[in-house]
Each structure stands twice: as C-alpha cells, then as structure tokens.
C-alpha cells in the first residue's frame, strides 16, 4: 500500500470535448498541508468534486486512505471534512441546526457542535437563521461543518473566500495548527500563491486541467533565481566595453543585467566598469517573486 492519503491516477474529466482535468496525478502525504494552486478555471473545483465522489471521473481513479472512492465512498467520507466552492447551508435553519443536521449524519457528539462553533467564532450567532448571515459568516459555518466530524483529512476549496483580513489570518493559523496538533492532512485550493505560500508544505500547480508542478514549497522557492541590475551612466557603451573585456551581460531598458552571476563574477564586472571610467549609480539584486514564477508556469503573464 502506498503511503499517500490522497492519490489520483491519471484523473481526467471531460465536459463535452474539452478536458477540464487532464491526466492529473495528485499525491498528498500524511500530515502535509497541500496547496492546490491554479488560476480561475484551471480545474481545481472539478478535481475536488471527483475526490469527494460528487462527480465521476471520465478516466482515471481516486484513492483516499488507500481506498478507491468509487467502491468505499461512505467509509472514506466518514473521515473527510470538506468545503467545496461557495459555502453550502440551509437558510431556514440556524447555524446550530445546520450543524445538527450534519452531526446526525456524521455521528458526532452534541458538544462537538459547540466546539466547532467556538473555533470559527460563531457561538454568538449560533441561534440566528443562516439566511441572515454575511458571506464570511457562511464561510465560517462551512469550515465548522468541515471540522465537525473530527476528520483525518480536510479538503478545503478556497476556504478564505469572502473572509475579512482578520478572518483570513484566523483561518490560516487554524489550518497551520491542525497537522501539528491533530495529525490532520489538509488539501487546500487557491488561486493566490501568496496565500498558499504562507501555509503549504507541498504545492501542486494546475493550469488548463494539467498538473505542471508538484513538489515541496521549498523547491518552488528555489526556482526564484535572482539577477543583478546595474544602473550606469552610458549603459550601451558600458555593455560594449564589458563585452570586449569578455564579460557577458544583458542590455535592456538602458540597464545592464547579470543573470545567475556568482559573487566573484559580479565583483569583476563592477571592477572592470570602474577601471574604464563608467559611473555606477546602483547595483541592485532583482529576485523573481513566487508570483512571477507562478505566472510564468501557468503561462498567464500579462494579466488575466
């Protein structure tokens, strides 16, 4: 048996002729916070619906806790808490009754309802009908429902949607604490790299239905190579002078760029410029942000 909590094998979903999820091999190890990242329409929600058995894969398979979702859906779902896309609720019931309706099906204890209400800070509003809730409050209720059954795996689709900044931080801290305190595994989807960056240990990046990166967040960060930017008085002449002395730089927007230069390499270039009487105004390091890497990987440079 594999040691993955979630493992999909060539998971594919077609709507009509378009492959919305295409041969995705998702692998989530126990205790990880797996950031499932992709731009709008990448296929995150569709993948998650297949993980939970809400939608049927066109091809491929889903294994959770080493069991096939097609065959052992009920026993898997007993240990999974989830929040898919926008929050689900019964508007005519109060927050407490909403949780009670789910509790009956999960077989959780009644005190657990008060616990999860406290975790998402809804205790005060528990007796109000949910139709009067704000989006953020409904989202909190959704998170409370996901936590209700003391799950071993949490699948959260854009859980910070609609939350205010302090709510986002609260939920983020909560999510970060769970693997440590309870050994829970978490898959969390988002279209914001910065959000994933602050929580995730593993990252999977999906775009146009295809998984284009799946590794630890550290590996992703390592891709953020740096370059040195030089601002000098006559950039073009300086660039030519450097070339004649055997130093290769990029001339761009009236600036010189040194790609992947070692410290010695940078020092030599600066020395050569000084010796040839160029004035050096600035030497700066430009680091590609994770956001830029994400945009490069997903081929979405130049905006959405």
């Amino acid at each position: 048996m594999s040691n993955f909590i979630i493992e999909t094998n060539k998971l594919t979903k077609k709507f009509g002729s378009s492959k919305v999820v295409n041969n995705v091999n998702l692998q989530v190890k126990k205790g990880e916070i797996y950031g499932f990242l992709g731009p709008n329409g990448a296929g995150k929600t569709t993948s998650i619906r297949m993980l939970l058995g809400l939608a049927r894969p066109t091809n491929g398979s889903v294994q959770i806790f080493g069991k096939d979702i097609k065959k052992e859906r009920l026993s898997i779902l007993k240990k999974v808490g989830s929040l898919v896309e926008y929050p689900s609720y019964y508007g005519h019931l109060t927050a407490y009754e909403n949780l009670e309706a789910a509790r009956l099906l999960l077989g959780a204890t009644k005190p657990r309802i008060d616990e999860v209400l406290a975790i998402v800070r809804l205790t005060k509003d528990a007796k109000r009908p949910v139709k009067g809730f704000s989006l953020g409050m409904k989202q909190r209720l959704g998170i409370a429902t996901a936590l209700l059954g003391n799950p071993e795996l949490l699948i959260l689709d854009e859980p910070t949607n609609g939350l205010d900044p302090s709510g986002i931080i609260e939920i983020r801290e909560l999510i970060k604490s769970m693997p440590k305190e309870h050994g829970i595994t978490i898959l969390i989807s988002s279209h914001l790299l910065s959000e994933i960056d602050q929580m995730a240990t593993q990252v999977g990046i999906i775009t146009k239905g295809q998984m284009i990166f799946q590794d630890s967040i550290l590996k992703l960060r390592a891709q953020s190579t740096s370059k040195i930017k030089l601002t000098v008085n006559d950039a073009e002449a300086a660039w030519k002078s450097l070339l004649t002395h055997g130093y290769r730089t990029d001339f761009n927007q009236n600036k010189l760029f040194i790609e992947n230069g070692s410290d010695d390499n940078v020092a030599e270039i600066v020395k050569s410029l000084v010796q040839n009487n160029y004035s050096i105004y600035r030497v700066e390091e430009e680091r590609k942000s994770l956001e830029e890497i994400f945009l490069e990987l997903t081929g979405l440079e130049g905006g959405l």
Partner: protein, 244 residues
C-alpha cells in the same frame, strides 16, 4: 437510515411547508358540512355519502397537488444553497437519501389522510350519524388514496431532483392535475393516469358507480404498483448517477 431520517425531519420541521397538511382536510370538512342536508334520506349510507362528497375535491385536486408541492419543497432547500453538495460530501448513501426523501413526503400525505378522516368523524359527530361507523369502507378509502399517491410522489420526486428550478416541476404538476376532472370519468384512460388514481382508489363504492370507478380493484393495484416501481426505479437510477 434512522439518523438520515432525523436529519431530514429537522430540515422539514423548520420550514413551514408541512402546515399544508391541514388545508385540504379543513376544506373537505367545510364542504362535507355544507352539503349535509341532501343526504338525510339514506340513513344507512350517511358515512359513505359524506366521505364521497369530501373525497371529490380532496382526491381529484389536493392530493395530486400536494404530492408535487411536498416533493418540490423537500428538494428546494437542497438546490438553493449547495445542500446536495454538502449532504453528499457527508457519509450518506445516495440511495437511502432518495428513499428517505420519498418516505417523508409519503408520511406528510399520510398525515393529510388522517386529518381528512378526523374531519369526517367531526361531521358525523355533529350531525349524529349512526354509531356503527363503516370502518372497512373508510379505511380502505383513506389507505387506498394514500397508496395511489405513491407513484405520483415517486414521479414528482424525480422531477424535483432533476430540476433545480423550484417552479418548473410544480407547474408541470398543475398542468397534469387540471384535466383530472375529465380523465377520472374515462374508463379507458382513468386507471392509467397517475393523477387520477388517488380519486379512483379513494372514492367509496356505491350504487352509482360511474366511469373509471367500474375498473376492478385488481387492475388498479397492478397499475399502481407497476408505475411506482417504474417511477421509483428511474428516479433512483438518475439520482445515483447525478453529478453534483
């Protein structure tokens, strides 16, 4: 399945739709009371005659409409804000969920039937009908009417699950209920028209049988059970395969 039932019951109880179980029984009670004077002569048929009068609007109009309204409502709060998604991400068997939904509607119809009979007893008590209540006729009528609603419930549940719109299945139901008045009179079509079956089963037998009431009870039973299995099976297969 017990917990599923409790959970569904909680959702139903807090929506006020179940109050509709009172509408038809109260209306039938009023109708039964107002037409009393004409029945005075048939001493021994008083119970049956009143039951017959009350049955007309109740079984031709209200029972078919109520099956649709209850089914739509019990699915409405699942359609509106992602209820299906939430419910089916919990450890719940789709088959049991579907069956529990149908059972809840059939219980609401059963409650309507019981209230309907209470109405009849109130009339009998007020007008001093004979003490020998024709239990056989009455219970056959109420139970038969309930049983004849089952295929309708199965059909309406299918429509309500499939259509996320709340109004569409209701409108279709009304359209099929309107010609009921004519179809119950047709010996050829009545027994096979699901919307007519509650009336045909509920109408107490009397000398003046007309139209489809001449159809044998065996034929009706076969048609009712056959269509129940057909509608329930189709709806269930659809729901098991439905993508949420």
């Amino acid at each position: 399945m017990g917990r599923l039932f409790q959970s569904e019951f909680l959702k139903l109880r807090r929506s006020s739709i179940w109050l509709l179980i009172f509408v038809s029984p109260i209306l039938s009670l009023v109708l039964g009371l107002s037409e009393l004077s004409e029945i005075g002569e048939f001493e021994q048929h008083q119970w049956t005659a009143t039951l017959g009068i009350m049955t007309i609007s109740h079984a031709i109009l209200f029972l078919p409409l109520l099956t649709g309204i209850f089914s739509s409502f019990i699915c409405r709060y699942e359609h509106v804000a992602g209820g299906w998604k939430q419910l089916l991400s919990l450890p719940v068997s789709r088959r049991n969920l579907y069956i529990v939904k149908i059972l809840i509607v059939s219980l609401l119809i059963a409650a309507t039937q019981i209230l309907f009979i209470l109405g009849l007893f109130i009339i009998g008590w007020m007008k001093g009908y004979p003490i020998e209540i024709p239990w056989g006729t009455i219970s056959t009528s109420v139970f038969g009417g309930w049983l004849a609603c089952m295929p309708l419930i199965a059909l309406q549940m299918f429509a309500s699950v499939a259509w996320s719109s709340f109004a569409a299945p209701l409108a279709v139901n009304v359209i099929f209920t309107i010609p009921n008045m004519l179809i119950v009179n047709s010996e050829r079509f009545g027994p096979y028209y699901p919307w007519s079956q509650p009336f045909l089963m509920m109408m107490p037998n009397s000398a003046e049988n007309f139209g489809a009431l001449n159809v044998s009870i065996e034929t009706l039973f076969i048609v009712i059970f056959g269509s129940l299995i057909l509608f329930l099976g189709t709806g269930l297969v659809y729901f098991l395969r439905k993508e949420i």
